[in-house]
C-alpha cells in the first residue's frame, strides 16, 4: 500500500504544467485533489513516472462567471463549489447531487475537474455535467478546445482528453427558466459509490434523464414529456439498452430495477419542480 516511485513537479504557472505534460505524455498524471489518484498510486493501479501538482498555480481555484454558466477551474475544490453563494438557485442539480460525493472530508480536498477527468462511471459530477449539457475546456501547450460532456466521456474511466491536455476548467450552464431539476442516488451507505444515480431535467414539453453507475459511463436520453405507461416503457427500454454491470455491490438486475423505479420518481420530481 505504498506508491511506486515517481518524480514530483509543482509548476507555478499553467504554461509550465502544460510543458511538462507535453514532454512526459501518458507517463505523467495531474495531481489536483488526489482523492482518487492517491489511492490508485498506493494500490499501484496507477504508476506514473511524474506527478504534476497543479494546486498552487495562481487563478486555478476561483470559480468565475462565463458565457451562459459558471466556469470551474482545474484546482477548485468540490467543497468550494458546493458552498458557492446561490448555487441552489443557479445550479439546483449540483446543489442536490454534490452532498452525495464521498464525504465532507474528501470534498474538502477533491476537485471538480479532477472528478470529471477521472471519469468514474458512478461519479456524481460527471452525471451532472452530462445532464445539464456542460462542457470540458481542454488546453495543451498549443491548442484549446471545448468538448461537450456527451463527447468527452467515451468509456470506462476513459475520456477524449489527449495526453498533452489539461482539463483547464469545466462549464456548468446556469439553470434556465421553466425547467425542473431532480437528482436521486442509491447506495448501501451515504458516501459510498453510487450503485445507481439519476438526474432528470424537465421542461414543459420534454424531459431528459441521465443515469450513472450502471454502464461504463453516464448515459443520457431525451424524450418528449411522457407519463404513465409510456414513461415506464421508455425507462424499461433504457434499462435494457444500458450495459448494466454485475459486481460485488449489486447485480445487473437490481441496477435495471433501480433505473426503472428511480427514473420514474426522479422525472416526476423534476416535473413538479418546473420553475
Amino acid at each position: 500500500m505504498k506508491p511506486a516511485r515517481f518524480d514530483y513537479v509543482r509548476p507555478d504557472t499553467i504554461e509550465e504544467a502544460l510543458e511538462v505534460l507535453a514532454a512526459e505524455g501518458s507517463d505523467a498524471r495531474v495531481l489536483a485533489g488526489g482523492q482518487s489518484l492517491v489511492p490508485m498510486l498506493s494500490m499501484r493501479l496507477a504508476r506514473p513516472s511524474v506527478l504534476i501538482d497543479i494546486t498552487r498555480i495562481a487563478g486555478l481555484q476561483e470559480i468565475r462567471n462565463g458565457k451562459g454558466g459558471i466556469v470551474v477551474p482545474a484546482a477548485t475544490r468540490q467543497a468550494a463549489l458546493l458552498a458557492a453563494p446561490g448555487l441552489e438557485r443557479t445550479h439546483p442539480l449540483l446543489a442536490a447531487a454534490m452532498p452525495w460525493i464521498g464525504h465532507a472530508q474528501t470534498r474538502a480536498r477533491g476537485t471538480v475537474c479532477g472528478s470529471i477527468a477521472h471519469a468514474d462511471p458512478s461519479a456524481e459530477l460527471a452525471l451532472c455535467l452530462l445532464a445539464v449539457g456542460g462542457t470540458v475546456n481542454l488546453r495543451s501547450g498549443k491548442t484549446r478546445r471545448a468538448v461537450a460532456a456527451k463527447d468527452f466521456f467515451v468509456g470506462l474511466m476513459t475520456t477524449d482528453r489527449h495526453d498533452d491536455e489539461l482539463v483547464e476548467s469545466v462549464t456548468f450552464p446556469t439553470a434556465s427558466d421553466g425547467t425542473g431539476y431532480a437528482f436521486a442516488e442509491f447506495g448501501r451507505r451515504h458516501g459510498d459509490f453510487a450503485i445507481v444515480s439519476v438526474a432528470a431535467v424537465a421542461r414543459a414539453d420534454a424531459v431528459e434523464v441521465t443515469v450513472g453507475g450502471v454502464d461504463d459511463m453516464p448515459v443520457g436520453r431525451a424524450w418528449p414529456r411522457l407519463a404513465g405507461a409510456d414513461l415506464e416503457d421508455a425507462l424499461n427500454t433504457l434499462a435494457w439498452e444500458l450495459n448494466a454491470r454485475d459486481d460485488i455491490h449489486a447485480d445487473a438486475r437490481l441496477r435495471r430495477d433501480l433505473v426503472r423505479s428511480m427514473g420514474r420518481r426522479t422525472i416526476e420530481e423534476a416535473v413538479s419542480c418546473i420553475a
Partner: protein, 169 residues
C-alpha cells in the same frame, strides 16, 4: 517550478500544531507515514490507507483532510494540525475530548484521532451544527467498537458547552 526526482528526498517545511518543523521525504511518501515516522507524531493513525476509514484525518490550513490521500511534499508551507494539537495544555483535554471521555465515545480508540479532528473542525466552522450535521460529518469515519451513538451524544454536548462558554474548542 519545484521539481523533486523520484529517489531524492525533498526538504519539507511546514507548521505542525503551531510549531515550525522540517522533515525530508521522497515524493512517494504519504503524509501519514511522514507525520508518524519522520515527525514522530504518532497520534494520527493509519487504518485502511486508501481513504475509506477516516482514521488518519488531520487538518490542513483549517480544512479536513485524509492524511493517507496526501503526499508529504504537498504540505510544504501549510499549517498541519493533528490530534496532538487539540489539548489546550499538558494534562488538560479539550472540551470535545472531555465529552468523548464522559460519554465513552471511544473504546479501543484507534479511529478516535481522526474522528476528533473532523468533529473539532466542524464545531470550529459551524458552532451551531446540529445532530444531523454532526452525523453527516461523522459519516466519513468508521468505528468498529463503540457504535456511533456515544460519539454523537458527546459531540452534541460539547457543541452546547462551547456555545454557552464561548470557550476554546
Amino acid at each position: 517550478m519545484h521539481r523533486v526526482n523520484a529517489s531524492h528526498k525533498a526538504t519539507i517545511r511546514f507548521t505542525l500544531n503551531g510549531r515550525q518543523v522540517e522533515g525530508s521525504a521522497e515524493p512517494r511518501m504519504l503524509l501519514t507515514d511522514f507525520l508518524r515516522h519522520e515527525c514522530g507524531a504518532t497520534g494520527t493513525h493509519v487504518g485502511c490507507e486508501h481513504g475509506v476509514c477516516g482514521a488518519c484525518t488531520v487538518r490542513i490550513d483549517g480544512g479536513m483532510a485524509r492524511a493517507c490521500l496526501m503526499l508529504a511534499v504537498q504540505v510544504e508551507g501549510t499549517a498541519v494540525e493533528t490530534v496532538e494539537g487539540l489539548s489546550p495544555e499538558p494534562g488538560r483535554l479539550s472540551v470535545l475530548q472531555d465529552a468523548f471521555r464522559r460519554h465513552h465515545a471511544l473504546q479501543c480508540g484507534f479511529c478516535t484521532a481522526g474522528i476528533l479532528m473532523s468533529l473539532d473542525t466542524l464545531l470550529k466552522k459551524e458552532p451551531h451544527a446540529d445532530e444531523t450535521r454532526i452525523r453527516d460529518v461523522l459519516g466519513g469515519h468508521l468505528c468498529r467498537c463503540t457504535g456511533y451513538q456515544p460519539i454523537v451524544t458527546a459531540t452534541v454536548e460539547a457543541a452546547e458547552i462551547l456555545r454557552s462558554d464561548n470557550g476554546d474548542v
